[in-house]
């Protein structure tokens, strides 16, 4: 444990699960505890830094492969990247039947980016926070207890909600693009209960609207909460295992091996559901 001796287990876990915060107060830029009352106007700088860093890593790696791509015999790195691309492309072609330039790159970005962010979960839980604490202490003279560092961006609801929100906007956009505004509203109001009688139909509209709106909104909610919940729980168990002393080693290993599955699976599920939701939004009626 990197923390000092008087730290309780709860405090240790709490410290691990708190983001590094930054906000703009009247006295200028402030960090962490000073931002507690700022409500919405706070940045989680660790989430932002890690996620954007990993996103850029993803783009750099794939951009390099893309700029080298030709029809000759590919190298191993090239082959690996193209296998990932082909895997995503196959899934998109199988599920999304409307021609679109956006869906496949979107799915690729989600899959690889989420995978990389999830992968940060396999870095030993105390390692990076302790390192950040050490830097904060030696370079800035801060109390290491006041230096926060949460390295897995997908354990931050802001991250997963941002992804889900992006997908949600695309769902609405595709729905309107494919069916027109009228068609989109019709889909929200005339299903699942419909009647040939004008009057009955008008009465049914509010019920339909409530049902369809719930169905629509539940999609991004489930996307965001599924990824967040899985990774947050995994991270919490890593922290708990990390807090029990020497016995943690075999337990940590077993949980890490199991977690590899979760990491890939959650990235895949997020990508797959994104494609499915968008294909549902783009198809004529459901």
């Amino acid at each position: 444990m990197a923390a000092s001796d008087e730290l309780t287990l709860t405090g240790h876990i709490q410290h691990h699960l708190t983001n590094a915060r930054m906000c703009n107060t009247e006295d200028g830029i402030a960090f962490n505890k000073a931002c507690e009352d700022m409500g919405f106007w706070v940045w989680h700088i660790d989430t932002l830094a890690w996620s954007i860093g990993l996103g850029i890593l993803f783009l750099v790696i794939f951009r390099r492969a893309a700029s080298r791509a030709d029809t000759g015999v590919p190298g191993k790195f090239q082959c690996f990247i193209e296998m990932v691309v082909d895997f995503v492309g196959d899934n998109v072609r199988d599920t999304f039947h409307v021609k679109s330039k956006l869906i496949a790159p979107l799915a690729l970005t989600i899959f690889v980016w989420v995978f990389l962010m999830n992968l940060m979960d396999l870095v030993p839980v105390d390692f990076l926070p302790a390192f950040a604490g050490w830097i904060g202490e030696t370079a800035f003279g801060m109390d290491p207890q006041n230096v926060y560092m949460k390295v897995v961006p997908t354990t931050d609801l802001n991250m997963t909600a941002a992804l889900a929100l992006g997908v949600f906007f695309l769902m609405i956009g595709y729905g309107i693009k494919m069916k027109g505004v009228g068609g989109f509203i019709k889909e929200l109001t005339l299903h699942p209960f419909s009647s040939n009688n004008m009057f009955v139909q008008i009465i049914l509209i509010p019920f339909n609207l409530i049902l369809e709106l719930i169905a629509l909104v539940s999609k991004p909610f489930s996307l965001a909460l599924r990824l967040f919940g899985n990774l947050y729980a995994g991270e919490l168990i890593f922290i708990l295992i990390g807090a029990i002393g020497l016995m943690q080693l075999p337990l940590h290993f077993v949980w890490a091996v199991f977690h590899i599955l979760v990491i890939v699976l959650q990235a895949f599920v997020f990508m797959m559901l994104t494609i499915v939701y968008l294909s549902m939004a783009a198809s004529e009626s459901h």
């Binding site: 983001n19 700022m38 409500g39 919405f40 106007w41 706070v42 940045w43 989680h44 989430t47 932002l48 996620s51 954007i52 996103g55 993803f58 783009l59 794939f62 951009r63 492969a65 893309a66 700029s67 791509a69 030709d70 029809t71 590919p74 990247i81 193209e82 691309v85 082909d86 492309g89 330039k101 956006l102 496949a104 790159p105 979107l106 690729l108 970005t109 980016w113 961006p153 931050d156 609801l157 802001n158 991250m159 909600a161 941002a162 992804l163 929100l165 992006g166």
Partner: protein, 156 residues
């Protein structure tokens, strides 16, 4: 776990990443993959075609070889026949020639013999007559007994 500005920041980052991926990452990779797939498919098809061509060529070669063999044996048979014929011809002609030569020779011999015999006969007749003349010069008259001598000569 309250939502805050991070959400907006991540949303912007997400949009930027997706746009970058859409512009600079996906199209070249996907094009390269599709082009390579096409190339491989073409190569496989070409290989198959070449194999088929080879098979055809081999069949053609075997056909032509058989033809050539048949032709060769035919030619050989013809040549043998011709040779036999020639030999037979030669033999027959030789035989005829021989017979002709033999016949001619015999005829010549015969004629010569006849001629010689005639001459001999004449000479013998002359000699006989001369001898007889000498022997019986005194006793017989040449003209009276010439018929006897003539008869004698004819008997030779």
């Amino acid at each position: 776990m309250n939502l805050n500005m991070t959400l907006i920041g991540e949303l912007i980052a997400f949009i930027v990443f997706v746009l970058f991926c859409m512009k600079f990452v996906w199209p070249p990779l996907n094009n390269a993959i599709e082009a390579r797939q096409k190339k491989i498919a073409d190569g496989l098809a070409a290989g198959e075609r070449a194999e088929k061509d080879l098979e055809l060529a081999q069949a053609k070669i075997a056909d032509e070889l058989n033809d050539a063999k048949a032709q060769a044996s035919e030619i050989i048979a013809q040549a043998k026949k011709r040779a036999e014929e020639t030999i037979d011809d030669g033999k027959k002609r030789g035989e005829q020639e021989r017979e002709k030569l033999i016949a001619a020779g015999q005829a010549e011999i015969k004629a010569e013999r006849n001629r010689v015999r005639e001459e001999l006969r004449k000479q013998v007749a002359v000699l006989a007559v001369a001898g007889a003349e000498k022997i019986i010069e005194r006793e017989i008259d040449k003209d009276a007994h010439s018929d006897i001598v003539e008869k004698l000569v004819a008997e030779l």
